[in-house]
């Protein structure tokens, strides 16, 4: 056995061992948005459950930003967890493609007991037709925390209506205070709070069961204008504060003092513990009523589903019954309250929790006492909570609305900034003046502009959304057909099988080529040595490339078998151009490249020239300048995401404010105008090292005599740099430019991380998708909306662009132009 074989054997055995290790039967339970404390809680509950049911529970927390990808990928892979907690839309979205089971069909005898734990109107959201594809898990409702001391000082009373709230915020603005909209800020999933009191739903099914949107309804638009006013026309410390909401709420220092803190219910538990000094200085009130006197208190929530490919469905159902039983519910609620500085409130919609016979639990829990008001609100919410079924395609259509609202937000900020500049004020001073009743005409003018923007924006996106929804409805029907005949589809011939056979034939051809001629046979060892990379290239590059080309002409959802891919001709290519998504991504990419490449080159030229000098401690200098080259992009992006925090909580803002370079803190990552520039700053910082390295190598090839000759001619350092070093580096500059363009086309990791995809619930690539370049778009289609066809079409356009760049480069090198 030669060492090579030994190595392969070791690798194979290791991989096999790992697979075997994973095969141990356990109930896999995934949960979106869970933190460290949740992991500990559900692991503990799992151990309790194991004692009676003899099933081990393995808990995995998923981040809000990418949970959809994880669930869909795991379903596509046929390796889903047994039971999972998803967003509210999960049961519908996964039910449609047959990824999760119908609880009624699977557990006809026991489902009634489970259903009885819920208020019937909460179940449609978790249904597809008559199928019950999941049950609600928890719910989030907005709460307004306000500083009673400040309110008293300003003569304000707790806001009972949205108009009250707007007025209170005006008064606070006028006095120089700020308002923090934490979760329900510019988040699209909070829109029901504004529109539902009027019975308007963003995307829904009409009476005939056809998908429709309320976007053009004047009342809907009024509610949206109201929301935009609340979000953007007041002074705010920004929305990207990395959880320092309690910090600014507790601050009394003008400039950061934020006496109104609008967030999810749970914050009170944390406030009591982190800021005991504030006890008695604040109170909480529920979300105010709309102008018609009605209110709607649901922001968002989660739901639990059981997956079709699970082998432990019965155990999963038992676990669900266990978690929704009253004693365990109490345990969960108490655990959430007892998390010290990270305490929060677990608001589940299990009706028994709020039944009169259960009052003693609330009354006898000291931690909850100051907030019994909230429990009262929950009672009302649960009793009146009304939901309706999801709409196929709403996942794809909804971002149109969020992006529109983002862009209007950016517009308002820009307008305020410009108008403020006219009066030689900062934005916050200008808004303060609004609060004091000054510049009333301008205020009205901006409000009118918002109204117009809303009207024209919705006019533009409505037909696009309707097209998406109608197409999705047809696809849904197609999915239903495939789901009904799943096993046939699974065994049918598909493109990958064909490609694999072709690859196998090519491989056989290669083997035949080697063995057919005695001359070749004599060289067997040579062929054996080059075989591994050739086979790897065939299997892992050429086969996938061919399949991608095929897929780019089909419509395919990977949760279904590949044979369900449907030939649609060039419609994907037309779609990605016509929908404007690809041109938008290319524009972003172009912008990114045009800034980062030249800037990087200019800075690198200077520093390469400087580093080329005979330096003391050269090793250290090079270490300093080259270290970004070896550090992982993700870690670096995580660091930058904190440096770029809003308000003066972020170091960069703090420095800029201190140096009086800016009047108002920049909303780096939460504004569409500055998001991509932040990504660029990171890219330039990290890319310098490699460019400097290439330039240094080039500088060392420039003969020393040239500098000396120039020195004799009396050329100073700047002239030597400009006349000798820079022209001498022409080939390197060309090379780095091409490489930079290719790199710019492929940027992904930094955008993903800076957009907070591993954290927050923003499911997009930056505000208004400002960071959506080509690869993020490819990823979005491939692993977020699961349109593998479109994704492959984007991939081929990308391939073409890179091919062109490479050919240009080869051409230039051949001609010897550089």
């Amino acid at each position: 056995m030669n060492p090579l074989h030994k190595l392969f054997a070791v690798v194979t055995l290791t991989l096999l061992a790992l697979t075997a290790f994973a095969a141990e039967p356990v109930l896999r339970f995934w949960m979106v948005g869970a933190g460290l404390e949740d992991t500990e809680l559900y692991t503990r509950l799992g151990r309790e459950f194991e004692k009676t049911e003899h099933v081990k529970v393995e808990f995995t927390p998923l981040p809000w930003g990418s949970f959809k990808m994880k669930y869909l990928v795991s379903m596509a892979a046929g390796l889903p967890p047994d039971i999972g907690v998803t967003n509210n839309g999960g049961p519908y979205d996964y039910g449609v493609v047959g990824g999760v089971i119908d609880l009624r069909k699977e557990f006809p005898d026991r489902v009634r007991e489970l259903e009885s734990r819920y208020q019937p109107k909460t179940l449609p959201l978790a249904s597809v037709g008559d199928r019950l594809c999941g049950v609600p898990f928890d719910t989030t409702t907005p709460a307004i925390y306000y500083r009673t001391d400040t309110f008293k000082k300003l003569g304000l009373s707790p806001p009972k209506t949205v108009a009250d709230l707007n007025h209170a915020l005006d008064v606070l603005d006028g006095a120089g205070y700020m308002t923090l909209f934490e979760f329900p800020g510019a988040a699209q999933w909070s829109l029901p709070m504004y529109t539902m009191p009027f019975g308007k739903v963003s995307i829904h099914l009409d009476a005939k069961g056809n998908p429709t949107v309320d976007w053009l309804d004047p009342q809907y638009q009024d509610a949206i204008v109201e929301a935009l006013n609340l979000w953007w026309m007041h002074n705010s410390p920004g929305s990207n504060l990395n959880g320092s909401g309690t910090g600014v709420f507790g601050s009394d220092e003008m400039g950061t003092a934020t006496p109104v803190y609008i967030t999810a219910t749970g914050a009170f538990a944390q406030l009591h513990r982190t800021r005991p000094d504030l006890d008695g200085k604040w109170a909480m009130t529920t979300w105010p009523k709309a102008s018609n006197g009605r209110s709607y208190n649901i922001m968002a929530g989660t739901a639990a589903v059981i997956f079709r490919d699970s082998h432990l469905k019965k155990e999963a159902f038992d676990w669900l019954m266990y978690l929704t039983s009253l004693p365990v519910q109490h345990e969960i609620i108490l655990d959430h309250l007892h998390r010290g500085e990270n305490s929060d409130f677990f608001f589940s919609t299990i009706v028994q929790n709020y039944a009169p016979e259960n009052d003693s639990f609330w009354n006898n829990t000291p931690e909850i006492k100051p907030d019994l008001e909230l429990v009262k609100a929950f009672k009302e919410i649960v009793a009146s909570y009304d939901t309706q079924q999801g709409v196929q395609g709403s996942e794809d259509a909804a971002p149109l609305e969020s992006n529109l609202l983002d862009s209007i937000g950016a517009y308002i900020q820009g307008r305020l900034q410009d108008m403020a500049a006219k009066h030689q004020l900062s934005r916050s001073e200008y808004v303060k003046a609004f609060g004091q009743g000054k510049y009333g005409e301008e205020h009205e003018q901006i409000e009118r502009e918002i109204r117009d923007k809303v009207a024209s924006g919705y006019r533009e996106i409505t037909p696009r959304a309707m097209a998406i929804l109608l197409k999705a409805r047809d696809e849904g029907a197609e999915y239903a057909r495939v789901v009904a005949h799943m096993s046939e589809a699974e065994s049918a011939v598909d493109a990958l099988k064909v490609a694999k056979w072709c690859a196998f034939l090519i491989f056989l051809g290669g083997v035949a080529f080697v063995f057919s001629k005695p001359a070749n046979r004599a060289k067997l060892i040579s062929y054996a040595l080059v075989a591994p990379p050739m086979v790897l290239a065939l299997v892992f590059v050429f086969v996938p490339a061919a399949v991608a080309l095929y897929l780019s002409f089909t419509h395919y959802n990977p949760v279904l078998p590949l044979s369900a891919a449907e030939w649609t001709g060039d419609s994907n290519y037309r779609d990605i151009f016509k929908s404007g998504e690809l041109p938008k991504s290319l524009t972003h990419t172009f912008y990114y490249t045009v800034v980062t490449v030249p800037t990087g080159i200019v800075i690198s030229l200077v520093f390469a020239y400087l580093l080329n000098a005979k330096l003391r401690a050269q090793r250290w200098w090079r270490f300093l300048y080259f270290s970004p080259m070896v550090t992982g992009v993700v870690s670096v992006a995580l660091i930058f995401s904190l440096l770029f925090l809003d308000s003066k909580l972020g170091w960069i803002n703090a420095v800029l404010l201190k140096l009086h370079l800016v009047k108002d803190p920049i909303l780096f990552l939460s504004s569409e105008k500055t998001f991509l520039p932040c990504v660029m700053a990171l890219a330039i910082w990290q890319g310098l090292a490699f460019t400097i390295l290439i330039f240094l190598a080039g500088l060392q090839q420039i003969p020393q005599e040239m500098y000396e000759a120039a020195e004799v001619d009396g050329a100073g350092e700047i002239r030597r740099f400009w006349n000798i070093a820079v022209p001498g580096l022409r080939p390197q500059v060309f090379f780095v430019t091409v490489l930079g363009c290719i790199g710019g086309l492929q940027v992904f990791d930094t955008i993903y991380t800076l957009a907070g995809k591993s954290g927050g619930a923003s499911a997009r690539f930056g505000p208004n998708d400002a960071g959506q370049t080509v690869v993020p778009l490819l990823y979005h289609y491939g692993f977020e909306t699961f349109e593998m066809g479109k994704s492959s079409a984007v991939a081929y356009v990308l391939f073409l662009l890179i091919l062109i760049l490479t050919l240009v480069q080869l051409r230039v090198y051949k001609r010897g132009e550089v």
Binding site: N2, V11, L15, L36, P63, S66, M69, V73, A77, L79, N242, G243, T256, T274, F513, K517, K523, I525, S526, V530, P532, P533, V535, L536, A537, V539, F540, V541, V543, P544, A548, P558, F607, A613, R622, F623, Y625, G632, V633, V634, L638, F640, W651, W685, L693, A697, Q704, E708, I742, Y752, T753, S758, G760, V775, L778, Y779, F783, A795, F799, T806
Partner: protein, 274 residues
Amino acid sequence: MRRTRGEMFRTYLLLSLGGVLMAFPFYFMIITSFKPKAEVQQVTPTFFPHHWTVEPYQELARDGKVYQAAANSVIIAMLSTIGTMFVCTLAGYAFAKHRFAGRDFFFVVLLATMMIPGAVLLIPSFLLFRDLGWLDTWAPLIVPGLGGAFGVFLARQFISSIPDSLIESARLEGASELRIIFRIIFPLSKALLATLGILSFLGSWNSFLGPLIILLTESRYTLPLVVALLQGRFADRQNVEMAGAMVSIIPVLILFFFFQRQVVASLANTGLKE
């Protein structure tokens, strides 16, 4: 080149200014990772910790995921590195020193794979791995990259410069191919092996998109995945997030400091790539 004293002063000044900007993010990471929670939540940030604490690292240990992921990443990177060194050197040797029918054709076909960007293969590779039952295993992170075209290209370039006479005389003495490979090629290719090793180690250690899509079970996650996840898991705890970044960055930086010359030379090689 010679520079006057004034010019040297200016050089050091500019380099120091640039150095401050280059080191700034690292400084932030180190400082923040030793701050207590109360201090990172303060409204006015402190540029130097008032209280030093290792609490964030203890929190990380309580979660346990980062350290496990670090171990996973080490295993994956080691397997990729060793595998790449073997596969690329052997193939590079054959391409450089053997004569066989179809050699140039094979080499061109292999180089052609460099034209296809990884992103193009994302979707179909995913489907292929699913078909092979490789999803949620480490195989897709190790196997496809073993015989990368660029590595083979580097190996061929390097081994071409080993004199034929050495190999010929060994052959005349009756040495088998294996003997030639292990007694002549490998010992003479230390710089090549270092380059292949360093490039493949860094590539594997820092790769993100592949593991993001392929790995489903948390206990198999790699370090970049878990570091990215800190954003959600420790949403309001900058100090813990930065402690996680430290775990992923510092070991590599230390290695880089000691093997700076080799690493820089290796990375400069990627300049040949296009």
